[in-house]
Each structure stands twice: as structure tokens, then as C-alpha cells.
Symmetry: D2
Subunit: 358 residues, 4 copies
């Protein structure tokens, strides 16, 4: 059975109704785009701030993605983010300024929410998920006291690509130190988060709160599940974050110190053979191969490689031994697909496959 047949067979009529919170925003639009014709999920509810509510989604949203607004979504009436939506499962693209409370309210009302916001990422009972890396962390949900409702979170966009590249190294060689300098795309700032006059012919060497996220989130994601809680990984991480004039795709210069002393070819083999639960379960959004290694020294590049496997795979290159650490290499991932909406959808697919939905 080939890839195409497999995916086709996954499609069935009885789809799970889902809603999108913050549907008019940058991440919300990406959810709407990626969930179009999804084999498991069907968007039946779209919600945003009260001032947008009441009219059809297609008339309210300032659609900023290439291509047209999916027709089915355009017809949906935009509602407020109140826990009376007609679906049990929600994707949240809400801004951190409001996400915390709204997501809690929905969880308390019995909804399951997969969130892109930072607010609940470090709640002890909330999984911070990268499906290929820590599928077992979903069990944390059992600790939650929201009743039937649940909150699951997606890491920060710059964390996801890096951790996917680090996970096989940690498993094979022991990971002690990570140094990261990021060059992050404009779309990571939300559609109107960045003025054109500020980033054209420029680099902004600062993204508020970003370095802290990159220095802490990997510790939880790479941590061990231990009796209903996470023992954080013992890795020393330093991060510096820059915004560059690129539309999509976060590029990261990474350096690592490893416990064992492998050779370059060992790392490359580790990466190219890496697979996780999404690949074993053949989840519909899973990349066939999560990590791609490029031998060309000038690869990967954001514009050329951000769309590998529809933006769900991570590209690695530029591997060199390092004068200060063991190795340096570059990591590229699509920040609004793998790093946001696509990652959250993959997580929801994992939850369905594992029986967490119904």
C-alpha cells in the first residue's frame, strides 16, 4: 500500500467537529487553511474577539495567505470566544494577552483545547508537545482537574525545529549544552506585529521573551515522564533571537556539547533515520521523514527549504566541528506550519490515534 492509498483510506465521512479560537489572526488563518479537507477534522466553529463576531468569517477576516479563503470556512458565522461552541475540540491561535483565561474557561466547560499560546505551557499538568519527541507526555493530561476538559500546548515556533533536531542527538550521544542564535521570519510576529518600515533592509536583534522560551521549553519537552510529572532535562541552553526580513522559515545556528564523542557521520545518520510516533502511526500530517540533512554547505535556506514535506519537516545542514562546543549546525523549520498550526494539528492527530478524543 503506497503513501497515497494510505492517506486516502484515512479519509472517512464521520469527521470530528472542531473549532478555531482566534480564527481571524495569523495562526488562526493558518489553522483554517491547513484544516481544509482534513481527513479527521472538520471546522464547524470559528471564534474571535467580540467586535468581529456576528458576521460570516469570509467577510470579517483580512485573509493574508496566498490563495483564497476556503469556501466552507468563509460561510461560517464568526462567534465570540465563549464556551458555548458546538464542538468538543478546539485549536487556539489566541494571542497570549487573552489566551490564558479563555482557554481555562473552555477547559472547565469540558472542551479540549490544543493551544499555541505560551500561557499554559509550564502548567505542571499540561503537556508541551512535539509529537515525534514526547508522545508519552500526553499522559500528563490525566493529572488535569478540568473534568472532561483538557489543555494541551504547542511549543514556541523557534523551539520546535531546534528540539526536533536535538532529540535524536540526545538519545544517541547525551546532550549537555546547547547554544542557539536564531534568525526568525516576519510571519512569526503575527500579521501586523512588525512594521514594514522597521524590518526592510534591517535585522532586529531582539524578540521580547523569545530567548527565555528557547532556554526553558526544551527542558520540559525533552524531560522524562515520571509518576505523573515531568523531570526536566539537564541541559544548559543559551539563546539569542533575531528578526530578519524573511517571510517564512526560522533559521537557527546551533552548537552542541555531547556526552559521547560521535563523528559527523554519526550525527547525520541519527538525523536521517529519525522517526517518531507520528511516522509509526502514519498520521495524515506527519512528514514521511521528519529531519532532512543537506550536505551542501550553503543549505538549508529559508526560501528554498521551508516547504519540505508541506512545511512539516525540519532541514539541517552546515555541520562542522566547533572550537568551543563539539559541533555546530543550522536548523530550518517553517514557523507557521511545523512551528505553529501544523504542529498543533499533528498533535491533535496523535491524540485521536491514541484514543484521547472520544
Amino acid at each position: 500500500m503506497n503513501e497515497w492509498t494510505r492517506r486516502l483510506m484515512n479519509r472517512h465521512a464521520d469527521k470530528i467537529a472542531v473549532g478555531v479560537l482566534g480564527a481571524t489572526g495569523s495562526v488562526g488563518q493558518k489553522f483554517i487553511q491547513l484544516l481544509q479537507n482534513h481527513p479527521y477534522f472538520e471546522v464547524t466553529e470559528v471564534a474571535a474577539s467580540p467586535r468581529s463576531a456576528g458576521r460570516p468569517y469570509g467577510q470579517v477576516v483580512q485573509w493574508t495567505l496566498p490563495g483564497n479563503i476556503p469556501k466552507e470556512a468563509a460561510r461560517l458565522k464568526l462567534k465570540e470566544c465563549q464556551p458555548d461552541l458546538q464542538c468538543a475540540f478546539l485549536f487556539s491561535g489566541l494571542d497570549a494577552s487573552v489566551a490564558g483565561t479563555i482557554e481555562t474557561d473552555f477547559a472547565r466547560a469540558g472542551y479540549t483545547v490544543v493551544s499555541n499560546a505560551k500561557n499554559h505551557r509550564f502548567d505542571a499538568d499540561v503537556p508541551l508537545m512535539i509529537p515525534e519527541v514526547n508522545a508519552d507526555h500526553l499522559q500528563l493530561m490525566h493529572q488535569q482537574s478540568y473534568g472532561t476538559g483538557k489543555i494541551i500546548t504547542n511549543p514556541n515556533c523557534s523551539t520546535i525545529g531546534m528540539v526536533l533536531a536535538l532529540k535524536p542527538l540526545m538519545d544517541a550521544f547525551g546532550l549537555q549544552q546547547v547554544n542557539a542564535v536564531t534568525m526568525q521570519a516576519i510571519s512569526g510576529a503575527g500579521f501586523s506585529g512588525l512594521a514594514a518600515a522597521s524590518i526592510t533592509d534591517n535585522v532586529i536583534p531582539y524578540i521580547k521573551g523569545e530567548e527565555e522560551k528557547l532556554e526553558t521549553e526544551p527542558l520540559k519537552i525533552l524531560g522524562q515522564l515520571n509518576g505523573g510529572k515531568i523531570d526536566e532535562a539537564s541541559i544548559n541552553i543559551s539563546a539569542r533571537c533575531n528578526r530578519v526580513p524573511v517571510i517564512d522559515g526560522h533559521l537557527e545556528s546551533i552548537q552542541v556539547a555531547l556526552q559521547n564523542k560521535p563523528q559527523k557521520k554519526d550525527l547525520i545518520e541519527c538525523w536521517t533515520t529519525f522517526a517518531g510516533e507520528p511516522q509509526r502511526l502514519k498520521l495524515p500530517s506527519a512528514p514521511l521523514q521528519p529531519l532532512y540533512y543537506f550536505a551542501e554547505p550553503h543549505y538549508p535556506q529559508p526560501r528554498l527549504h521551508r516547504d519540505i514535506e508541506q512545511g512539516m519537516a525540519v532541514a539541517i545542514g552546515g555541520l562542522r566541528t566547533c572550537n568551543l562546543f563539539d559541533f555546530k549546525f543550522n536548523v530550518l523549520s517553517h514557523n507557521t506550519v511545523r512551528g505553529a498550526a501544523g504542529g498543533a494539528i499533528l498533535c491533535a492527530e496523535l491524540m485521536k490515534a491514541k484514543g484521547y478524543l472520544q
Copy 2:
């Protein structure tokens, strides 16, 4: 006596005749622009490859800098790079593919050449100069066996800004480790060195040979002059170099491990009070203050700060303690001014002030 009066008094009629090798290239054009109305030097000769020679400079050069070609230079007849030019002093903006031999030929014929090319940088008897940092290294010239001719070199554009920021830290606190990730401007690749189709909406995480330069040149520049040769500094440096879609201005994310354990305010004071020979000698191209520190976390930025002190000063910001090293900070310098033509002119001014030019 104010700054203006001082500079005005430096102007005098009997200027030193100078030539520019590789005058039609990117660095060559910058030399022509910056030497216009220079108080010490007057461009009387322009030379380039044989196929360009024979016609007036203004008719041959594809002028790519804002503003017009200086009128005096436009009228000069473009000559071949043969050691029969009518001036004793030369600035070389030649490409490394030809610079080595041509510069040697000129030195042997009695010319003094200040070069931007990499070819002679590591010759044991050739100074690799940043005037504020290692003015005393000019004495290396006495070891040269070219007769009256001499070769002096300018470091790589990405080296200069970094070393200027490191020098006061080394002197005050001892410098042990340096980690650098650069985001370098388009103009560093020469005018046609980079295709528009390759860098628009993109980052290229590789510049051939650049990481090696950044890992080795500082060791010579920061080394000690010891009995006619340089003892290289004992610093461990790792560099990663990226090209970003910015016209001018190299931004560098730097991390340092220091011997003494200073506080943030100590570093800032070190930087803002730093001055070198060019400041003491009040050289015409010297910035009044070589290093500027910005407290705003999102500063410095290439487009906003590359032109500080006409592009001759270096901007520093984003100082934070680091989980892996002692500190991290960002350094910005104008790659074609301080990092190339401007730096070479400052070096020539230093040589004049020190009596090396007649």
C-alpha cells in the same frame, strides 16, 4: 578648539598623491568616494583590470554608490595594475584572486600598499591593522624585505567590528573564549557577488572562507608584538557566518568568557570610554568615540546605526549574562566603511601621523 576647527586645520594644500588598485570594484568605488576632499590624500591614479584600462574612470566604472562619481576621479584615466603608477602610496581593493601577486609586485617596485585582500594578512612581516587596537604592529613593516616598498593589510570586514568590541574587554578582564554568529550585509559580497534571486526573502547560512577568517584574524590583531614578530593571542574562537538581505552593516551575535568576572556596568564603561591612537592623534577619519553602547534591547540595528560617525564607529547592544559563557552582546559595524575602505584610510592616516609616509 572644536572638532570642526580641528578638522579644517588639518586640510592643507600639499596632499600626498595616492592610487587605488581595483578602482572599479565595490571596495574601490568606496575608496574613491571616501577619499574625495580628504585632508591628507589626493587620488591621482586609478587602476583596474587590463580590459577596463585606457578610458576615463567615469566612463568605465559602473558606479553603484548613492550620489555621483566624484568629478576629479571621473576624469582620471584608468590604468592597468602595473607598477608604473605616478604615486608612491596605494590603496588596494583588488579581489583576492589577483591581489596577492599584484600587491607583491608593487611592493617590490617600491610602492607602499594598504590592502583589503586576504592574501598577505598572515605574512609574518605584514601588519594586520585596526588602528585603535594594534597601532604598534605597524613596526612589523621594518621586517619586510621589499626595499622601500611595504604591504600593510586591513582585516576582514566581519573581524574588524568584533575585535574593536573585544579589545577593551581583553585589556580589562582577560578574554578566553569568543563565540560569534554573524548576519552579514549584501555589500560584503562585492557588487555583483550575490544574485538578487538568491538572497531576497532568504538567509544564506554560509560565506566561503569567512568562518576561518573570523576564527584566526583576531588572534594576530590582538597578539603581542615581541621582538619583530607577533605572539598570537590565546583565545578560543568559534564563528558561524550568515548572509542576510541587508544592504550595509554586519550585525554579530557575540558571546564571551572572561578571566575576571566583571559586571554588566563594567563592560559598558569599558566600551564607552575606549579610545586608541587615532583618537589621541585626532586623525581625520577617526570617530570621536569608537564604540557606542545602546541600552535599548532592540538596538543596534543595521539600517538605524550603521552610519554612526560616518560609518567609522561600532555600535554595541543587547548585553545580557549568558548561561554558557559570561556575557552575550550584539555588535554592528559598517562593512564597507569601517570594515573596508574607511578602515584602510584610517590606517593610512595613522601611518602618516607616525611618519611612515616620508
Copy 3:
């Protein structure tokens, strides 16, 4: 029978062997990319300049398109552009500096060549094709004296989008005057045709020879076939061409004077109902709808709409009455797909459907 089934049925095992001349260049690479898995054609030969010949295509080409080099093409041995290739049909992405002679040589040797170069566009017996516009012009080939060999040409990239938008207006209302100001993408200059340092933060208000092409090619394309030759259309055209910092997609500000005096809604209906031979013949590369009209005043935009129907459709918007002409509107088309390789492939599909290939 739905669209998918129709296209699937078009696929068959006995494909026509084709070659690509100038396969390593910008247009050549696009041919290789678009011909991958083509239902009619299979690339069996790749040819380029002598200095590239002899090695596998994948080792020689500097692949600059997103995604990887198609595996089958990568394995092909790159040959010289000599008329001894093992295929009867050729797509030419050769540069105009060499295309004229080489294409003539191939035609004389019995090959059929669909060319993107300008050299033969105005040969009286050579069709200048936009399949939706002048399918009947293919008959011009019968006038050629190359024996079994033939030359067919694709118009200039900026001509194609404009003429597709003008054709239905001409048919319905009579077309008297056309004024065009273009804003053309970087990729139109070939991969290394434009230095990054020249176009970043800039517009270049000149493209050599482009205004002349835009002022003359439409007259032939929109002309009438009359007894084995073309009577050129009687339209007065003025064009001004600019290069802008956009990767792909030529945007054109068009003004027209029409014989009849229609209303805005009449133009819109004309455009949205337009179809040509490729649509009637359901050719594999034909857009289902060649022209899209956008009512939003700020549409179409290069980054948002260049990929409509895989880059084969043309987007129109901004229709307003004009103080000097009758109407003004904007036209956007993907310059390397519809405007080059994709357009040439559609032309070849038309030739096959019409029985011109065996």
C-alpha cells in the same frame, strides 16, 4: 467526470521524449521542474553550454528552485546543444545571445523547438503563441522551410499576462490603445542576471529591450492569420518597464481605450467567462479558468496571487474608469510559469492535441 479523473486519464505510458536546451539556466530549471511527471512528455535529454557538458545534470546545475532536483533529470548526462540529441521535440530556455543560431540548426536538422528566446519571434513563418489567444497561428508552421523541423516561440514574460487580459476585451469591445507600466520580478532577469546590491531597497526603472517587446509582440499575437501570414493588429501600445524587489510575478498597470464603450461589469464578465482552446481541449497544464478578477481594490498582489492555478492563470483587479483612456486595471501573472516555461509547455500540449507532434 471530474477534473481529477480527467487529468488522470490523460496519463499514459507511451510518453513523448523531449529535451531541454539551456537546461542549467533559470528557465531551463523551470522546464525540468514542470515537466516532472508530465502526462505527455518525458525529459530524456538535457543540453547546455560545452563547458557544462559531460557530467550528470544533478552534479552540474546550480539548482535554485524550492524543493529538490527531480531525480530522473538529475541522472541525465548533460550534453552540448548539438543537433544529435535522442528526441524529436525540444524546449529551449537558451539565452538570446546564442538561441538564434542553435535553434535554427536544430530545426534544420529536423527537430521541433518551442523557444522562449526572442530571436525568432518575428520571423514571418514562426508562430508567437499564447494558446488561449491564437491557437490558429500554429498553422504558420506550414510556411517554414526547415523540412520536418519547426520553430515555435513563446512571447516575452511581460507580454503574456497583458495579452491574455486584453484578448477578451479586443474581441468584445474593439481595442484601440494600450498603455502599460510594468513592475517586474527579479526572476525575470535570470538567476544571476541581477545583483542583490542593485535591487534591494530599490526599483530599477529600465529593462533593456523590454519596452520594445511589449509594444510590438502583442500586435503579432493579436493579429489575424490571413493566407499563411499574420496581419498585425492595429493597436497603439506604449510601455514602460520597471524591475522591483519581488521574487516572482509581474504586475502591470494597464490602461485601455476601447472602440465600443462598455461598462465595468461588462469587462469583468468578459474576463471571468473567457476560455480558449486549452480549456476546450482540457490540456493538462491549462488553468481551469485563465483569468481571475478580484473586486478588492488592493488585489492582485504578486506574493498572494502569482500561484493561482499553479501559476498558469492571470489575476486582474483594480478596474477603474480613467481620465485619459477608458479604463485602467492591474494584471498579474507568474513570469517563470505562465510567462515562460509553463506557457511553452502549454503550447506543446496544444501542438500534440492538434496533431502537430506525429
Copy 4:
């Protein structure tokens, strides 16, 4: 007496106190920058919206221009835009959403306001000024009924460059038709007026209200003063406006139909010899030569030529005869200098020289 001496002699101690309304915005910042060390004017008041008022300007403003905030301005306390400021003369960089009422209030209270906003541009008694073009229109002020207060307006940024290029043609050859297609810079949209995600790798073929301004403002500016009112010029203008990813500098593709039928050289002579009242009066901000003509077909370009004469001159190039009009050419002007703050300051200098300021 040379240019330098002349300008120096203009400097004197008793400067006129001026204020800037909307001082924190994009145009307001440019006023602050350009008025630093101005020979006639000294900024003593800065005003903005109530929520910004009360703190020092330097602490409130998000300074976005290269270089630092002028020290004197940084210390000024930011006030509300209420007519109790301690200066009789005001520059307004207010947004059109509030400028109308505020400027009227100030005029009624006896202040003289030079405004960049569109609100009062078409008031019959308000001059719409380009000092080189219609210095005599200042007399319109006498019709105003504000008492001692007055309102004078600056045209739209895209109007100014075009009209400066058209004025000498109108005077010499009679101007009948003008067709304009603009490619306007990001900075014209105000600092945060345009999202980075919307314009990177893109062109937006629409600027709200801009085409109407360009089609109407020139008629008033080029009109004749006739008994206390303006007889508008009889010119037919059509405009199409685009936003391009350029930081500063509006480039315009212009076509003209002229009454007399001059030759190319006649137009060029007209332009290069053009001068107006500011040049005759040797006003401090006046360009020595208002119009520069470039013979190179690919000039002028925004990045290379926007700063000619500190951004106060207009660059023209690409002159060609036209198939539909008489001539086509390109016009470039710096939109925030000549097209906004610089133009308004030149107007104020004219007013002072003409005795309108005490």
C-alpha cells in the same frame, strides 16, 4: 561669496520659536530631525495625542530614523495639541483623522500652521504650496478669516515630485495631459502604517485616496492666482498608485502630452535650468538645483538618488518619445524630505523671506 559662506551668514541668534504638532509620528520625527540647527527656526514646543503628553519627548517617542534623537528636542516636554503652546508658528505632521479640527483651532487662536495633512488642501483660501512652483499663491492667506492665524498646506508626497518636474514643461510647452503610475516607498505609509508581512516580496497596487490626490492637487498648484482665488489649470491627469518594498523615495512613471512639440533636448534643458523663488532667495533648505536629469537609461533609482541635495532635489530620467503621448519619463523624489517635512520647512522659509512671519 560661496554657498557655504552664504548659508553660514544666514545663521543668527534670534531664531523664530516653532512647534511641531504630531511630533511623535513619522512626519513629526522628520520635522524634529530637519529642524535641528536650522538657521531660522528653533523647536521649542512638541505636541502629540493626550496619552503621550506630559513626559519628555525623548522618553516617549519611538525614534525610527537613522541616528539619534536631537538632544534639545529630547528634553522638551511633550504637550497636548491644544492652542496654548508658546510659539506662534507650527509645523503639523498630524494624521488626517484629527488634523482638520486641530489645525482650525490653532489658526482661530492666532497660530500660523504649515500642514502636511490633506484636510485643508482644497480650502479656497488656503495655499497648497510648492515654493519653486507657486510662491505667489501665498497671497491666498489674505483671504483667510482666522484673524492673525493662518493655515498653509503642503501637497501629497507623490504630488510634489511630479509637479516640480511638470512646472517647467507647462511654462515652456503647454501641458495638456499627464499620465502617472507611481511606485511609492514604505515610509509614505507612516511608521506603522504597513505590516512587514504585507509588503515583503510584494507590491500592493493600491493606496487609499492617493490616486484622487494626484489627479486633483496639481490642478490647484499649477493654477493661476486671479483676484484672490485660484483658477485651476486645465490639465487632464490620470494616476495609478502602487506601494513597493523600498524604504524611501517615490518613483513615478510619467507621460505627458504637450501643446507645442518640443524635442527631447528641449525638455532636458528646461529641467536642468529650472529655478524658482527659493533659489533666487537662497533659502537655507533650497536645493541649489531643484531638478537633475540623468542620461543613463536605468537612472534615477530610489536608493541611489533619493538623497540628492539632502533629499530636496528631484531626479528625472528615462526620457523617451511615447506612442500614445508626446513623452514618457521617470521622476524620483524623497517622500519624507521634499515630499513632506522638508517641503514644509522650505515653505516656512519662503514665508519668512517674504515677510509673512512678522
